[in-house]
Each structure stands twice: as structure tokens, then as C-alpha cells.
Symmetry: C2
């Protein structure tokens, strides 16, 4: 086993403690950080790191860190031993944990630990991607688009070129996965080549209550007390992978002021959005989404509180909606902050002034911002219709079935290959299954009433969809009547309409079919218009990206694209709740919150934690915060120190970090991680996982 | 020892758990709660208590609770044993603790415990007032004001009548203190008669770090972990007071949802303010105060960080300013909340409509709101001059001395009794001491520069004070020159100017004296004008109060006046920081926060707490929150249950409670108290105060 060490940095690490910076300060002292610090491994910001942290990675440091990192579906992870041991979050391993659970077991409830290799269990349909190389393929992609074509034709040509590059790359070796990553919204295209591991086995998962202590309320917040960890092992040819590149566990852990890096795959940010795009989100898209959540969530709560069976049925849906509500509220909070928006507006103004000052740039890119503003105005003008001329009515099953039935004869009339996917012959059985499920008519009535309520507010009285849906009826009455009269609750009737084709659909007097017949042509027409607008906008995004690279060069980090990044940050307290949030929480705090809520759900504790209370060193840190730049997709990212050693495991951000989606700041936004010391303490004393600890510590 | 019990309520207490209400909900369900729940003992809201909590106090309950409560300078307290034991906050006992400390002792650092009566130490110049009776004297006060006099003459006649009533009351018995309390801003006058205890001795105080754990950052916040307690004993004729009326310690403590009462003396609220008065605070007074804090605090921090001696000198001043800054920011937050202000505006509109609908009320009171708006407009128009035509320049000593010197000959020319108090012969020695102190010229230069900076922004160029202070100089330059040239740093020169009278003052070329000569007549004239405006406003306040009583009767609680009140509330969690704050914190949480900050100031822990860690039951609640209506002055108030038993001790509110100063809400505003269970656990295991615990528990 090769142990990678960085003795050269031991001294520097001891000397420097770095403070986080406010937004304005950050940009003044380190221009280029407006778009955050999600750096790519092919363009590391060496000058900035040297200036701010006196950090100069040794030769091989970046390659080692990159090769120690892996990507999994939706999350990040890393090798943490020489025998293929991989660390990620519990919420990233949840799919595998559930999949490997057998009759009579409940690993989500009780946790899982394979003390020996034989006890490890294979995660089905799973993979880990290790990034081997990055190559610039911008020219190949750009040159594949003929001039003089429509925006949609251009998009199609680009997509075809990308598929071609990826296919050719995959053909060059075994177990390779290749992906062309669009950087700067089309400013650059990079070919990422991965080694893909598909034999991955579960080694350890804590009980779900320890992993997600505090549940949905504590989600996106700090102070926090979660052991959101899991471990897999990657195998090749039936043997554990010899992961020579893996992260070594830190003996000391971190301290406040320390420089730390997060290495992982942030999913999506919008830092290169123009003001027009941000105002659209703030004033059009997000308010509409929030209205929807506010309409749907109380219905689901009402139904759940009246009926335990429905409580089980709608539990995941409620969680998903509340989670989105919390996130979108947070994203919007940044856009509503006049200080942040002004700062962004100033930045854009200065950027545009630089473009305008150069005749070449001006001619090539100068008009892009105004074009985008026009496109967003066009999108805003059709927004209400996009949301109400649709079969997707807050998840109404009846409306969805009616929509599919009305669309079926139209699609079936086309050659199989040209049909929308659900209507292709290969998917016929699936289509019939989708149409055959059971219907909760109480839910349908309530959710449609909520949807029609919004429709009555937002569509004009003469709107054709509103006319058929509501007529002169109150929303609740319309929903009750439609649900009362429909025949679509009867699978036989549904099958008859599907097999009966356009004649049967045209002849049906079912109220949902009647409404769907009105919606269908309107939705199709509007859909084409919106696709065209987005394709046009993509071209303008690309122009702005080229302008950005021309003015700032690579010093500006690209937006997140669920590709491997390294972000620098500092372990730091921050102002919160009228006082200060400490940089660490401890096991003391876990037991405080558990006791203070008397162990009520979701502040539940597994019996093994209650039993372990007196054995634990309660002063051990369990969670920590730092200024690293992360977003969804970073879950499971390792937090490492200057020496590349593991000091933590990312699992969330605080509520103040949500606005960072669009506007990067360090003053109160924090990444939240599980502390490496807390992981070892809990594995040893709560879970008796001594063998796993020995492997982590390299004993 | 008589043990007061309320067996009749034991059943009801077990049945009911009550939830807090949102602002709108509160007013809809219990109209009259707009002004909060600081009820007086002569008009208890029996119908509201019965309706909301099914609580009907037994005969004697209210008298017992009233007689168990005492008022002390600036704080509240209560008898908690039959031998005169009195409980209050550490921050209320601080003056006594410091006063009884002798050479070589440090009770603020180490705490104090008198295990025997002999070891108790007398608090000098101290008193406790026990409320014996309340009598309405409105008619006597109102009839003492002749009709047709000026507002200022009316105010003087009222004040004289009040002094007379108080004097006659005091003459009726030994050890009596009598006070006419103005309720509803002059709507009612009530004579409060107290038994005054003046022999009060210190029994127990914890170490200051446990009492004020988290210091200024955690002040006004929750979750919290403070043991802010102290105990005195009241004596009469050299013997402990036989306090037959005292609060019994609860054996069980409280639980979430419990009805609890806070009995104490809230200092001052502004719930009866009109919209014009609130807008004045929001737009004129508070912004000016905040500008002042923002200008002064950085100067003091700069000076302190450069010099440990200055750090000690300015420590209290920094604390006071930061405390005020936090409080005023919080008060203003409520006034800036459009939802809250709209709710208040609606309430006022409806109240005025009711007055206007009744011809009598309309004729008597209808114009009061507009009159107040005019007065506030007049105050706003002179606001900048009030703040800059003054000798009080952010606490500049040189300017203050110059002001006193310039004013001295004018005051000295009057008969002694008519002079302002500092210039009366009896205070001559004190005046000379005040003028003779040392001057920190660096502080003077910095603080005057900050003040002049504000002046340059807020006074027009032609203003006479600005002209002399600044001329064409930059603020910093003006301050440096004045401090550089002044002779007032020399006590001999100061004494010469004082004894030299008007001739010496007129002849002086000292820059501060020159500036003071310009300010003096302007300040005097403006002062008279402002006094007249406030006296006029007092008359309008009284008219509105009479209208309020005519429309709503006594169902609306009067504003706080540092007189005894009883407020109902519920132990309740609340939304905070994106999640939920638990109703209790525990000793676990104390050690969490201590560990997380590595014991850095102000999260310091006395060695005895570190030693006691393993002895304590860490799950014991230390602090708790409830919806009771409190404000400064309530510090030291007992929190009691339906049976009148002690379950806690008020010591603070959360940051969300600050806006309650003007707009009463329950949704997130919380009172913060020390839990009775935590008090006993700490007294026993950290302080070894078993005797005290036995007395509390009645063993």
C-alpha cells in the first residue's frame, strides 16, 4: 500500500489561519471569485491559492486527490483505503442499503456492518466513476454546427457531435466511461474520461436516525448533529480494488481557521445567469413554484392526519415538496436581497462595459444580454399558460391518464421511431401499467380544487382551458363534479379508450377527456414555442460565456455541472440567530437536542446510541462548518486538509448557503460536514466497527 | 411555615396543553390581546384565562402570588421560602455582589454562598417592595389639573397632585412605599402601596461565567445555557422575614404545552403608540440612534485592540453600546416588518372608526391622532438640530466640560433653588469633581471626528454650530485641531474658567469654549420647544387612552410601567434558523457550546463546572422558553405553573421578542428562563449548596 504524504506542507499548515471574506471584500481582494470556487482540475487557481493561503500544491498533489475521488449516481465519494474502501453519505447509499436488505432485515432502521469481506453485499445497478483525464474538445463540438441553421438544428448538431466524441472515447478501452462536459454554458467543452467500477458492495451504514437526526426540519441547517456516512468497497475481477490513490485519514482532525478543500461533483449553479435570467427566477418561476408548494402541501398534510394509510402513501411526496419549498425559498432569498442583486448588477455592468470597450468583442457578443432579456420577457408572457395548459395538474392521476389517452392516437399515427418514448411499441406494456393504477379520488378532488383555484386567479375568464375546466363553477365544485362523473377510475374504461383510438377519444363524454382534448393542441403548440426560446437562449448563453473567457480568462470558475471540482475554504464560525454559530458541534449537542425534544420524531435516537452514551467522549466533534463552495451533488465529498488528509465528509449546507446558488458569498454561507474524529469515535464505540476503523487509520 | 397549595387545579393542569397563536389568530380568537398580556392584579383577565386555558384561579391565588412577588431596583424577584429567601437574577444582584466583595475576594469571578445566616452579607442601599394594595386615584389626579392652563402647567399640576397622594399614603404606616402608577399613558392613575424591606442580605451567587455564559453574543438569544440566578434573604428587626406568602418549588417542573405565568415588573412598552409615533421611531429616532452606535463602537474597538489599558476603560461602554445596538435593531425590525405594521394600522383604523361612530367620543377624542401626527412632524423637523446642537457629543468629555463651564455663570446668576441641579450650592463639590477628571485625548480626537462626520452630513452648510465646529475643515482635521489647541485638559485652567464666571468664559479663546458659547443659547431655546411638544403630546396620549378605555374597557392590558403584572403564556418550541428551537436546553448543550468554542471568552467555564461534569445529570433542563409577555424590568420574575409553584426564573427574551416592544406576537417571540430543575441540580452538584436546596424544597 502506498501512503501519499506531503511533508513539505506540514510547516505552512501550522502557521496560517485564514478568515472568511464578505462578498464585496472577496471580489475586491480576489477579483474573479464572483462565480465561486468550484475549480476544475485542468485549470487549478494556483496563483489565488498561493496569494490567499500560501498554499502551493506539491507535484502530484492534484493528480492524487483527483484519482482518490469518485462520482456515483447523484453523489460524490472517495477512496479511503488501499483496499478499495469508499466513503460517502448515508443518503447517497440509501438506494443500495434498501436494495441489499432481505426479508426480515431493516438496515435503514438498524444500520449495516460487514466486519468481513464475505458479509459485504453487492449494490445492484450501481457504479463509481474515477476521473482519469480531461481534454478540451471545444473546437470539435463548435465546428460540428453548420452556420445558418436554426437554433434547434444547431442544438441537435451539437448533441450529435458530443455523442460521437463520447462513443469514440469509450471504444478506446475497457471499463471506460466518457462524457463531454459543457463548461461556461457552452463556452467550452471538455471530454472527461473515467474508469468505471460496477462491482460495488456495501460495507457499513449507520441506523437511519443517526444519519438523518433532526429529519426534514434540521435539513439545510446548522448547528447539526448527523452521522450521515456510509462505506462501500469497490471490486475488480472479484477482488477489492487496489486503490493506490486514496485519501489518508487525518490523525489530528481540523481546527478553526484551517484551509480545507472539498473534492466532489457539484450538480448545478446559476452564477453566470444574467440579471434578466435572475429576475425571471425571482419574479416569475420561483413565485409560481412556491405557490404550487403552498397549495399542495396542506392538502397532503390534511389527508395524512386523517388517515394513517394515506400518511404512508404521501410521506415521500410531502418530504420532497417540503424539501423543495425550503430550497427554493432559500434560493429566492438571495435574489430578493437588494444588496446582493445590486452587487451582481454592478458586476454585470462592468463586464458589459469591458465588452463594449473592445470593438471586436462588442460586435461579437455585445447584444447577447439584451437578447436574453427579450427571450425571458417572452417566456414570462406565456408563463401562466405553461403552468395551466398542461396535463400535469399538481400530480393529478386522472388528468395525467386523460392526457395520455388523448395523446396516444396522435402519437400512434406516427412511425414508431418518431413517437414520444412512452408510445413506442417497446414500451407498450409499461404504458398499459401506467394507465392501470388505482386512483385516490379524495386526493384527486382536493388537489384539483387547489389547482383550479390557482387557474381561476391566473388565467383570464375567456381562456379556453379555464372555460372547459371551470365554466361558472367554483374551483372546488368543478373538481368535485369532474371526479364524481369520471369513468377513468375504471381500468376497463381506460383500456377501452386506449384501444379505441381517436374515435373513442373523440366520442368520450368523460370530463377529464373533454378537458384533455382542449389542452392537447394548446400544450403542443406552446411546447414548441418554448423549446425554440430555450434553444435561442442557449446560443446567447454561449456568446456571453465566450465574452467572459475573453475578458477574464480561466480565472473565473465555471458553473457546476456535476463534474469533479476542488473548492478551497476555511473552517469558520459565523453570525447566526443574533449570536455566533460555533465551527464545530459535539456529541454533547446531539444528546442535548435529543433530550430537549424528548426523543420525538425526527429527533429520534437508536437504542444503541442511548446505550453508548457513557462510553463516548462527548466532547468529540460530530459536525463542522467551512466556507467551501458546494451544492447538491457534492454530497459525499471528502473534506481534506493541505496534506490531502481526510478531516471530514460533506453532507449539507446551512440555510444561509442556499442563495449561493446564484450569488457566491462567504460571510454566512457554510458547508456542513461530518467531522472525521466523530466518525471514528462513533464507529468504534457505538457500532463496534473496530476493523473498519483500523482500515481507515491504516493500522 | 404555611404551604400554599392549590389542589383544585391539579386535575386541570394535567388535561390541557395549549399552543401559541400567530398575531392575527390571537386577535381574532381573543380580541383585546393587541396590547399584550401584561395584566394588572386589580383587573385580572378571568374570562380570557377561562376561555383559553380553562384556568380559573382559586380564591386567594392572585393575592398569594402578588404577595410572594417583590420589586427591587430595576428588576423583579420573589419570596421562595418561609424564611425570607428571595430569588432573582445574577445580573440583578450584581450591584450587591460587587458591593459585599472585600479585599482579596472576587465573588463575580468565583461566586458566593453563605451556608449559614452568619455568612450572609448585607446589600447596601438596597430595597425590596412587596405590593400590598392597588387603589384607583384617577379622579384625584385628573381633578387637580385646572382647565385652561398650558400643557406644561397641566403637567406640573398633575405631578404635584401625584407627589401629594404619595406623601399622604407613606404617612399612614411604617416601612411603606407609595407610588402613583400612570396606566394607559394617563388614562388611569393607580396608587400602589408597598411594604419596603431595606435589610437585604446576599445568600448565593454563582460564578459570573455560569450566570452570563455566552456573554454579549448570546445575550437576547436562545438556545441558551445560562444559570442567571442569585438569592437574597430579607430581614426585619434583625430576623429573617417570616414570608408566609412565598412560592413553593415545583417537584415536577414544567412540560411543553403547559400554561405558565410570569409575575414581575415589566419596565416599558409602546403598544399604545399611534402609527405616527411608531413611524417616528422607525424613520427618525432609531435610525439616528443606530447611526450613533455604528459611529462610536468601531472607535472604541480600535482603541481597545491597540491598548489593554483602554480595553479595560472602555469595556463597559462597548458592552452597553453593543447591547443597545442589538436591542434597537430588534425593536426596529418589528417596525420595518410590513405585515406587522399593516396589522397595527388596521387595528388603529378600526379603533378610530369606532370612536368616530360615536358622536360623544368623536367630539372628545377624535382629533387626537392627527394632533399627535403634527407633533411628531414638528419633532422630526428639529431632529438633526436636537442631535447636533448639544454638548453631548458621543460622550466627549472636553465638550461636556466646556458646556458646563459656559452654562455655569448663567445658572449661578439665578437664585439657588431655581438653578439646574448640578449648579446648586449643595452640589458644588460634586460639580468640581466632575470638571476635574482626566482626559483621554486620543479618544476625544477619534470620537469627535466621528461626531463631526455625522454633523457634516446632517446639518446644512450655513448652520451656526457647524460653521464654528468645522468651518472649511474636514471632520477629522477639525477634531484634531480642537483637541490639539484646547486648554481644558488642564484642571487648573478649568477651575479658572469656573471661578472666573461669565467674563472668563466670554474672554476664552479655547476652541471648545468657543463652540459651547454658540451651542448654549440654541440648545436652551430648542429644549424649551421640545419640552412643550412633549407636554402637548402627553395630553393627546391621555385622550387616546380615554378613548381606548371607553371603547374596549379594561380588557386591553396597559403598557408596561415597571409595576407588578401577571402574564400568561405557554411553554412552546418555535421556528428558528430554518428549523425548530426546542422548548428546553440541557446541561448537555452547555458543555456542547463550551467545547465547540474551546472555552474561548465569552464561552468560558469555571473550573468547578469542569470538575462537576461527570456528577451532573446532563439531561437536566437548564433553560426554557414560553410565550409570556415580558420586557426589561421582568428580569428576576418567577415563572409559575397553575398551582402557583416555581418552574423557572425569567432572565431574557429571544432576539425575535425584541419587536414585541411595540407589536405583541406569540408566533416566534419567546421569554427565556432558567429551569427550576436546572437550578436545583446545579446548586446541589456544582456548588454544594445543599442547605439552600433544602430550604427551596421545603425540607
Amino acid at each position: 500500500m502506498r501512503r501519499y504524504t506531503f511533508a513539505a506542507f506540514a510547516l505552512a499548515a501550522a502557521v496560517l489561519a485564514v478568515r472568511p471574506l464578505g462578498a464585496q471584500e472577496l471580489v475586491r481582494e480576489y477579483p474573479g471569485l464572483e462565480t465561486g470556487t468550484m475549480w476544475t482540475f485542468d485549470v487549478p487557481p494556483l496563483a489565488y491559492w498561493a496569494a490567499r493561503y500560501d498554499f502551493r500544491p506539491a507535484t502530484g498533489w492534484l493528480d492524487h486527490v483527483r484519482l482518490s475521488s469518485v462520482r456515483q449516481p447523484g453523489c460524490s465519494a472517495s477512496f479511503v483505503s488501499g483496499q478499495g474502501l469508499v466513503m460517502t453519505n448515508h443518503h447517497c447509499a440509501r438506494g443500495c442499503i434498501e436494495a441489499v436488505t432481505r426479508e426480515g432485515e431493516d438496515f435503514i432502521e438498524d444500520g449495516f456492518y460487514a466486519a468481513t469481506r464475505d458479509e459485504e453485499r453487492s449494490c445492484p445497478n450501481f457504479w463509481l466513476d474515477q476521473l482519469l483525464s480531461i481534454r478540451d474538445v471545444t473546437d470539435s463540438v463548435v465546428s460540428a454546427v453548420p452556420s445558418g441553421v436554426t437554433p434547434t438544428q444547431a442544438a441537435e448538431a451539437r448533441a450529435a457531435a458530443i455523442v460521437d466524441i463520447q462513443d469514440r472515447c469509450r471504444a478506446t478501452g475497457e471499463s471506460l466511461n466518457c462524457q463531454v462536459v459543457t463548461m461556461y454554458r457552452g463556452g467550452q467543452y471538455k471530454l472527461y474520461t473515467f474508469r468505471r467500477y460496477t462491482d460495488v458492495r456495501l460495507v457499513f451504514a449507520p441506523d437511519g436516525t443517526a444519519a438523518f437526526f433532526g429529519g426534514d426540519p434540521d435539513n439545510f441547517t446548522y448547528p447539526r448533529y448527523d452521522l450521515d456516512i456510509s462505506f462501500y468497497r469497490a471490486y475488480e475481477d472479484g477482488q477489492p480494488v487496489e486503490s493506490t490513490d486514496h485519501l489518508v485519514w487525518s490523525a489530528q482532525g481540523s481546527a478553526e481557521g484551517d484551509l480545507v478543500f472539498v473534492v466532489g461533483n457539484p450538480g448545478s449553479t446559476g452564477r453566470l445567469n444574467t440579471i434578466a435570467q435572475m429576475e425571471y427566477l425571482r419574479d416569475v418561476q420561483y413565485p409560481a413554484q412556491l405557490t404550487g408548494y403552498a397549495a399542495r402541501i396542506p392538502v397532503l398534510h390534511d389527508l395524512s392526519s386523517a388517515d394513517p394509510q394515506r400518511a404512508r402513501t404521501y410521506r415521500n411526496q410531502i418530504f420532497g415538496l417540503e424539501n423543495s419549498q425550503k430550497a427554493v425559498t432559500g434560493y429566492r432569498a438571495g435574489l430578493l436581497d437588494p444588496g446582493l442583486m445590486e452587487w451582481k448588477a454592478t458586476w454585470e455592468k462592468e463586464f458589459r462595459a469591458k465588452v463594449a470597450a473592445n470593438p471586436d468583442l462588442k460586435a461579437q457578443y455585445g447584444s447577447a444580454w439584451d437578447e436574453i432579456a427579450k427571450i425571458r420577457a417572452a417566456l414570462a408572457s406565456v408563463d401562466a399558460r405553461r403552468r395551466y395548459h398542461t396535463f400535469n395538474m399538481y400530480g393529478s392521476r386522472l388528468m395525467n391518464v386523460a392526457g395520455m389517452l388523448v395523446r396516444a392516437p396522435i402519437e400512434m399515427a406516427k412511425p414508431d421511431a418518431e413517437r414520444a418514448r412512452p408510445y413506442q411499441e417497446a414500451n407498450r406494456a409499461q404504458l398499459e401499467r401506467m394507465l392501470g393504477g388505482t386512483v385516490d379520488t379524495l386526493y384527486e378532488r382536493r388537489i384539483l380544487a387547489a389547482f383550479f383555484e390557482g387557474m381561476a386567479h391566473e388565467l383570464p375568464a375567456g381562456d379556453p382551458v379555464r372555460r372547459v375546466a371551470l365554466g361558472n363553477r367554483a374551483p372546488e365544485q368543478a373538481a368535485a363534479t369532474m371526479v364524481g362523473q369520471t369513468v377513468l377510475t375504471n381500468p376497463e374504461q381506460v383500456r377501452g379508450l386506449l384501444t379505441g383510438g381517436s374515435a373513442a377519444v373523440a366520442a368520450s363524454s368523460d370530463p377529464f377527456i373533454a378537458l384533455a382534448r382542449v389542452i392537447e393542441p394548446l400544450e403542443r403548440e406552446l411546447g414548441a414555442k418554448v423549446t425554440d426560446l430555450f434553444d435561442r437562449e442557449a446560443q446567447q448563453d454561449e456568446r456571453i460565456a465566450r465574452a467572459l473567457l475573453a475578458v477574464f480568462g480561466n480565472s473565473v470558475a465555471p458553473d457546476a455541472t456535476f463534474s469533479l471540482r476542488i473548492s478551497d475554504g476555511v473552517v469558520a464560525r459565523y453570525p447566526y440567530n443574533g449570536t455566533i454559530a460555533a465551527p464545530y458541534t459535539t456529541f454533547y449537542g446531539l444528546y442535548d437536542r435529543w433530550t430537549a425534544f424528548k426523543g420525538q420524531d425526527p429527533w429520534v435516537m437508536h437504542q444503541r446510541w442511548i446505550d453508548a452514551k457513557d462510553k463516548l467522549d462527548l466532547a468529540t466533534p460530530i459536525n463542522a462548518v467551512s466556507t467551501n463552495d458546494i451544492i447538491g451533488g457534492n454530497s459525499g465529498s471528502p473534506v481534506i486538509n493541505r496534506d490531502g488528509e481526510v478531516v471530514g465528509l460533506i453532507f449539507d449546507g446551512n440555510i444561509e448557503q442556499l442563495p449561493n446558488r446564484f450569488l457566491y458569498t462567504q460571510s454566512v454561507a457554510r458547508s456542513v460536514w461530518v467531522d472525521a474524529r466523530g466518525i471514528v469515535e462513533a464507529l468504534r464505540k457505538v457500532y463496534g466497527a473496530g476493523t473498519l476503523v483500523d482500515e481507515l487509520l491504516g493500522h
